[in-house]
Structure formats: structure tokens, C-alpha cells
């Protein structure tokens, strides 16, 4: 039982940002354990072009599973190919991104291999008898440490937690034979994009989140302008109240019945701070609260606070941040 394996998630043919984060974390772990870190890429012919990037983030061995039908993500196909690759490799742990794809895929792989899995992991440590992970439970109200009694341990890693760090791996390329299961009666028709939001709130470096204090959906343009001023790695979030009111789509909801986020900067505007919301954004690096109610619970978890009317504060804040970024 030795090496570590990272599943490489691709979006529009590119290695996803979270994959680089996991490879970095995995490479550091592999070094500590004195083992190799392997990367597994699935896709159509041509995926080999990603291997340079993977090597730059520490991959020692790169396994390429090429097949025209792997061009589109289908859980059944991917799980089958990955499980075979894992069985051939005798791994200690296999790491997936805790994204829509990773969360669909990793449990299937775990079931096929009859092993054990931990989801949304935020820390991995080497202990005497193996690995110990930390993961949030109860929507982030508590952090649990866990270890594994079966191997390989399947781990899905939360985006935005581990910094991507370059380190050069050996980068040997291996092509693996692909045989696909019968996936009759299964097709992915299309992927609809929501327009500008190529970045999901769970993966953004900065999040501008709005609540009831925004007074109505029309005022969201103020939040959009702030998001744009913060740059291309910013996204919009929302409280449960405004999602339930139909002002914003559920995909933007932050909190226990929405998404848990860990951005560098979280700006909560007009959000009072229900316990479920606080659990969902509590691990953000820096939290800013803007609220006209000085007693709002959000101020209890924020690093910086400003009491005032969001409609007045937002345009000015956007202007100053915009000037700052334009000057660089």
C-alpha cells in the first residue's frame, strides 16, 4: 500500500483550478510519506496535453484513459474506468474534487471498490497508522476528524482550501486500456450556462452575498457591479431568505441548505446572519459585514463591519475598489 492518486477534473478541456489545489496538497503529503503522487486523466484523444501542467503541480506518474465517449462526463463510465485504474495501482488514498462531478463520481467508485469515503475534506494529516482527515459536519457548525479502516481511502477535497503550489514531479506518462460498461439508456443532452457566471460561488476567491436588506431583486445590479470590480475570480452569493423569496437562484445560496464556501473574501450585504448561513461561510478567510442593523448576528462572526444603508455604501465601495484595481 503506497502511492496517492488524484483524479483530474477537466472543464472545457482544461485542468480545473481545484485539481491543481488537490495535486499540490497530495504532492506535499506524498513527500511526507515518501511515496509517489499519481494523476489520472479521462477524456477524448488529446488529453495528454494536460500532462505538462500536471507535472508542474507535482505529478510523478500520469495515467491517461483516452476514449471518445469519455469526452462527456457520465458517472457510470467514469466510475468504471477509475475503479479499474485504482485496482491496478494499489493506492493508499484516492483524492477527488468535492465538486458536482467529484461528489457524483467518488461515491460510485467507493461502492465499486467496497471501501470507505470522506466528503468535503479540509485537512489531511499523516498519523501513525495512516491518514487522518478533517471535514465539516452539520453544515460547518463542527469540524470532525476521522481515520479510515479500509483502503484505498477515498477523499473528496473542498475547493479553495489548499493553495495551489508548483513543485515538479517526474511526470511519466502511461496510457491505460479503456473498456467501457454498457451505458445504454443514459445520455447527457446538454449543459446550460447561466451566462457570465462561469465561476460558482463555492469556487470563487471573492464572494459578494446579498440578503433581505437588499430590499428587492432589482437592487442586485449593485452587487453585480461590486463583484465585477473585484475581478474575474469573484462570484455572487445569496442568503436563504432571498432564494426562498425567488429573488435569486438556489445555485447561489450559501448556508446549510445551500453551498458551503471558503473564499478569501466574503462580503455579506444586508444579511442578518441566521445560524445556517453563518455555518456555510464561517471558514472564509476574511468576512466583511454591511448591515444597517448594528445588532445583526453577522457582526458576531465578521472581521470588518460597517453599519449603514447598503444602497448608499455599495456604489461608493465599488467605485473605490474599481479605482484601486484599475490603478494596478
Amino acid at each position: 500500500m503506497s502511492n496517492l492518486l488524484v483524479f483530474v477534473e477537466q472543464r472545457e478541456g482544461c485542468v480545473s483550478a481545484v485539481t491543481k489545489e488537490i495535486l499540490s496538497a497530495g504532492a506535499a503529503l506524498a513527500k511526507e510519506l515518501g511515496v509517489e503522487i499519481h494523476a489520472l486523466v479521462l477524456g477524448d484523444k488529446g488529453i495528454g496535453s494536460s500532462s505538462i501542467e500536471l507535472t508542474d503541480y507535482g505529478a510523478d506518474q500520469i495515467f491517461l484513459a483516452e476514449h471518445p465517449e469519455l469526452n462527456v462526463y457520465l458517472g457510470e463510465n467514469f466510475a468504471s474506468v477509475i475503479a479499474s485504474a485504482i485496482e491496478a495501482g494499489n493506492y493508499r488514498a484516492v483524492m477527488f474534487p468535492a465538486t458536482a462531478m467529484g461528489k457524483d463520481l467518488a461515491p460510485r467508485v467507493t461502492a465499486v471498490l467496497d471501501t470507505v469515503m470522506a466528503t468535503d475534506v479540509t485537512q489531511v494529516e499523516v498519523i501513525e497508522d495512516g491518514l487522518e482527515i478533517t471535514r465539516p459536519i452539520f453544515g460547518g457548525k463542527v469540524l470532525a476528524k476521522m481515520k479510515f479502516r479500509a483502503f484505498p481511502a477515498v477523499i473528496s477535497v473542498r475547493p479553495n482550501v489548499f493553495p495551489p503550489e508548483k513543485s515538479s514531479g517526474a511526470g511519466h506518462i502511461n496510457k491505460i486500456e479503456v473498456s467501457l460498461p454498457l451505458t445504454e439508456g443514459l445520455s447527457v443532452e446538454k449543459i446550460e450556462n447561466l451566462g457570465r457566471q462561469n465561476l460558482d460561488v463555492s469556487e470563487a476567491k471573492s464572494v459578494v452575498s446579498g440578503g433581505r436588506g437588499m430590499k428587492g431583486p432589482d437592487n442586485w445590479k449593485l452587487l453585480e457591479e461590486l463583484r465585477d470590480a473585484l475581478g474575474p475570480e469573484a462570484a455572487l452569493g445569496a442568503s436563504r431568505a432571498v432564494v426562498d423569496a425567488g429573488w435569486r437562484p438556489h445555485g447561489e445560496q450559501v448556508g446549510q441548505t445551500g453551498k458551503t464556501v471558503a473564499p478569501k473574501l466574503y462580503i455579506a450585504v444586508g444579511i442578518s446572519g441566521a445560524v445556517q448561513h453563518l455555518a456555510g461561510m464561517g471558514t472564509a478567510q476574511t468576512i466583511v459585514a454591511i448591515n444597517k442593523d448594528a445588532d445583526a448576528p453577522i457582526f458576531g462572526v465578521a472581521d470588518y463591519g460597517i453599519v449603514g444603508d447598503a444602497m448608499e455604501i455599495l456604489p461608493k465601495l465599488t467605485e473605490i475598489i474599481g479605482e484601486l484595481n484599475a490603478g494596478e
Binding site: K103, R108, M117, V142, A144, Q285, L317
Partner: protein, 249 residues
């Protein structure tokens, strides 16, 4: 059509969760329990299918202790036809849970299995796709809405940058998230009717957890808040702090 909806009894999402001092255990004293919110979406999806296709039956299934009968009765009041309690201890090990549920589901051979995308306590998001893998059913996760036509179900699943539309042949496992299936409230008539609906209890052996809890802690506390001046006056200072102290701009 035969539908099985799997639900889990969990602490209310509004509950404060306390760690028992000196042990890796949660103190659940005085905590109110509910049906996991995502499972409520799944149940609503199942009940709506009943309203469209008259021959549809919905069976609600849970793994839990005797207390979980309350959640099953509630599901019956909302419109499920029958309920099964698999009496055994719940576990964080998703595959252990999936094996218990899959073995029961396999006996019933439903057309569709609906579950919440995750449970509101351990947040593992594993059981649905694991049940599908164990039984060889097709599977779609994180689904906000779906439509059944003949033996095909078309699912809209939420992904990072939008929505993916996926078609599955039945039998299929679908894990449901918040979207089109806003749960209803039980009617008085429903509550009365639920008392007469069948609720079967069966003792089960849950495989030993292969995920071992070694510790619990609260998220790190923050250093306290720095309030800047009220209103417009504070904005310049705020931006300066974010840039120079927090280094996030």
C-alpha cells in the same frame, strides 16, 4: 410506478450543535429533530409523481431508531402510501448505510429511488450514488427538477456553472436538491389518514463503520470585529484595511 423515497431523521438545521467536553461526541440533549430538508424535497418529488400517475405508489424508507417512526408518519401524512423502518444504528460510513438500504430496495425492485442529495447531519453526500452502484441502477445527483416519460426520466442537475440535462432509463436513483420541489405541509385529512397506513418495522444489522471518528472541534474563532465609521465615511478606511491588513484586495 413504484417509488421508494429514503429519508433520514436529523437534528434541526437551526439547532446549535455542542461537543461533549473531553470526548469526540456530539451532545444532542434537547435538540429538536426533523426530516433532513433535502429528503423533504425528494419526498415532495415522489408525491407529485403520484398526483400525475394514479397507479404510482410511494414507499418511504429509513434507517434509524424507533424515534424515526415520527418522521415516517409525517411522510405518510404528506401523501406516501406505506413506510418501512429499518431499525438499526445510523453511521457516518455512507457505504454501510447504502448496503442496508440497497438490500431492502433490491427486494422491492422499484422503478425509481429518490433521496435527498445529502443528510443534514453528516453531510457526506454518498448514499444515493452508492445505492445506484450497488444495484446497477442508473443515477443522477444534485437534481433540481425531473420529468418522467414512459421508461425515461429527464433530470436537470445543478453543476458549478449551470445546469446539466441528463436522460436515464428506469430503474434509476435520483438525489434531489433544492429547486422545484418545495415541500408541502401536511393536511389534517392527511394526518388522520396516515394513522391507518402501513408502517413496517424490521431489525437490520448495519455493517461496522470503516470511518472512525477521532475528534471534534469548533471552527476557529475570529479575533473580533473591527467596526469602521458608520455610513459613507467608513468606506475608505474599510478598503484600506482589506488591502493592507487583510491583504485580500
Amino acid at each position: 410506478m413504484e417509488i421508494i423515497v429514503c429519508v433520514k431523521r436529523v437534528p434541526d438545521t437551526e439547532a446549535r450543535i455542542r461537543i461533549l467536553e473531553g470526548s469526540p461526541e456530539i451532545s444532542l440533549e434537547g435538540v429538536k429533530y426533523v426530516t433532513s430538508p433535502y429528503d423533504e424535497f425528494a419526498l415532495e418529488a415522489g408525491i407529485r409523481l403520484k398526483e400525475v400517475h394514479e397507479t404510482t405508489t410511494v414507499t418511504v424508507l429509513t434507517l434509524g431508531d424507533d424515534e424515526a417512526q415520527e418522521n415516517l408518519r409525517n411522510a405518510l401524512a404528506l401523501g406516501a402510501d406505506q413506510a418501512s423502518l429499518l431499525r438499526g444504528s445510523t453511521t457516518m460510513d455512507g457505504l454501510a448505510t447504502a448496503k442496508v438500504l440497497a438490500s431492502e430496495i433490491d427486494e422491492k425492485k422499484p422503478d425509481m429511488v429518490l433521496l435527498g442529495v445529502k443528510a443534514g447531519d453528516d453531510d457526506q453526500q454518498q448514499v444515493g450514488p452508492m445505492v445506484a452502484a450497488l444495484l446497477g441502477y442508473k443515477c443522477a445527483t444534485n437534481v433540481t427538477n425531473f420529468q418522467v416519460q414512459g421508461s425515461i426520466v429527464t433530470c436537470q442537475r445543478q453543476i458549478e456553472n449551470g445546469t446539466e440535462v441528463i436522460e436515464l432509463a428506469l430503474p434509476a436513483v435520483i438525489t434531489v436538491t433544492k429547486g422545484e420541489f418545495e415541500p408541502r405541509y401536511p393536511s389534517l385529512k392527511g394526518i388522520m389518514a396516515a394513522k391507518k397506513k402501513p408502517l413496517v418495522i424490521k431489525d437490520v444489522e448495519v455493517p461496522e463503520s470503516r470511518l472512525v471518528l477521532t475528534g471534534l472541534e469548533y471552527p476557529p474563532e475570529r479575533d473580533g470585529i473591527h467596526m469602521v465609521k458608520e455610513g459613507l465615511d467608513g468606506i475608505t478606511e474599510l478598503v484600506q484595511l482589506l488591502r493592507e491588513e487583510a491583504k485580500v484586495l
